[in-house]
Symmetry: C2
């Protein structure tokens, strides 16, 4: 089941074609509301869901509000996610898997180069680069020199099989950590630990600490009460401060102490104490394609 809008955004079209090439029945969920899509997924007994991680969580939240337990009532056993990092962020992955009762796979790519990566079945905590179709290099974004295994750098892609948009050594802007160890799945392809860790230009330095939005998302998703959130990097005189806006789900009657707990956990995990603000359910925007939760000001 393909829950995307079938517009010119190329994100999921390759998945659609791939499903058809496999001979699978591909069900299109274009131009429909979330509740219509949920009904179709359950009625047609779809076994694989393809959408952004954000939208998988949004569907799960809408289902809960409608008294639907997707883990029990849907036949979805695999979910495949692209369009944003998320399916490689451990707590986001766990949240999707629990909500849908399904195994969740990350499938990163970029419009300019194609879908370059995939998560294999053993899921060793990262994604493989499909080196049959892509040449991948990981460089220091400043010096342009290749980073060593285990170091973070920018992913640079050359695509080999793409007719429409061939690129040579294209700087994706994606921050990754390369690994060349053999994988349990048997593939000789390099892997990116933790998937796409963030955007090179999204990194901010708060009180000397390098912070990526994906690290913050990882903390946010540990709290089932948080349905949507927003991250702001606010410049205050000479210092950058982090501000988190949290929106609890309407099914959580009380969110007493939530701000304090998140702040605590944040300090343990990221090493910073953010400003935390709670807002009423339904306040923050929802996203069907790429989510935009990170703001610098």
């Amino acid at each position: 089941y393909f829950a995307f809008s079938f517009g010119p955004f190329i994100g999921f079209w390759a998945g659609w074609e791939g499903a058809r090439k496999l001979g699978a029945l591909a069900i299109s969920g274009g131009g429909q509301s979330t509740s219509q899509r949920l009904k179709a997924i359950i009625d047609y007994q779809a076994t694989v869901l393809v959408c952004t991680p954000t939208y998988a969580l949004h569907m799960a939240s809408e289902a809960r509000k409608g008294g639907i337990d997707l883990a029990l009532q849907s036949s979805v056993r695999i979910s495949v996610h692209a369009g944003e990092p998320g399916a490689s962020i451990p707590s986001t992955k766990k949240m999707i898997e629990e909500a849908w009762g399904a195994k969740c796979y990350d499938h990163p790519g970029a419009t300019e180069v194609g879908a370059f990566g995939f998560e294999c079945e053993p899921q060793p905590g990262g994604v493989h680069v499909n080196e049959q179709e892509f040449i991948a290099e990981v460089i220091d974004p400043k010096s342009g020199q290749a980073v060593k295994e285990g170091e973070e750098g920018e992913l640079v892609i050359t695509n080999l099989g793409r007719i429409g948009s061939p690129v040579i050594r294209y700087r994706t802007g994606d921050l990754v950590q390369p690994r060349y160890q053999p994988c349990e799945c048997g593939r000789p392809f390099m892997s990116l630990q933790g998937g796409v860790l963030g955007r090179v230009d999204d990194m901010i330095i708060v009180r000397g600490v390098n912070v990526f939005p994906s690290a913050i998302e990882n903390v946010m998703r540990e709290f089932p009460e948080i349905e949507e959130f927003r991250i702001e990097a606010v410049q205050q005189s000479a210092l950058t401060e982090l501000k988190l806006t949290l929106e609890p789900g309407s099914e959580y009657a009380s969110s007493a102490g939530l701000a304090e707990r998140v702040s605590q956990r944040f300090r343990e995990s990221v090493g910073l104490r953010p400003q935390v603000e709670l807002v009423a359910p339904g306040t923050l925007p929802r996203f069907e394609l790429k989510a935009r939760r990170f703001f610098k000001s």
Copy 2:
């Protein structure tokens, strides 16, 4: 350019696949606003537009409001319409052709059987049944007997090449007028004069006159001032009366005398004097897929 929502409604998917099979660049217009779609059609220099007749007119109206002359500014030279009758209704066809500066083709079909008809290039005032893929019969809906050439009846379809939904002698509910004369295009296929004339069950009898919504639409589309309309068959004591609700386009400063002119023209063409009501621009609903303008009460 495919201006449809890419949901499970099967209407335009066959066209999409057909365009790809031809090797044409197929541009998807799913999940977008009308103004985004117009921009894409102009920017990408789309040459063929595929959508419902209603939506072609709606896009033209939105373009006019935005100061865009599609006949001049778009590269569209052919438009193909399905989902509703309309492209075979002479005044609707003319209106679409003038707005887009393109040649307009009807392409009728039904979800249950497939796209059974097409308009050939000489456009002799009707559509061919694709008798390579379909067996067509036209029957009297009451007696079930075949009607003679030139008489109106219900189209009955047997599809030959469809794996997913094969049907034998399926009553489509479409009212058509068969013709077996040779066509200028050289094809030996039977043709349906005037395309699909209406739905068998939409026919109403007003003061002894058989009226089909398509005949009413034909009159409505002669008036460029009318942007949207609604037809109601109202039961008043023993009589059925026709009520037309007309919504003029906002670019027409004055619609003085419009109701009277429509009523006059209606009497000449259909033989009935309807009640006519004018409403303010933006009052009636707009349609992206099948329009619903005909109501019985």
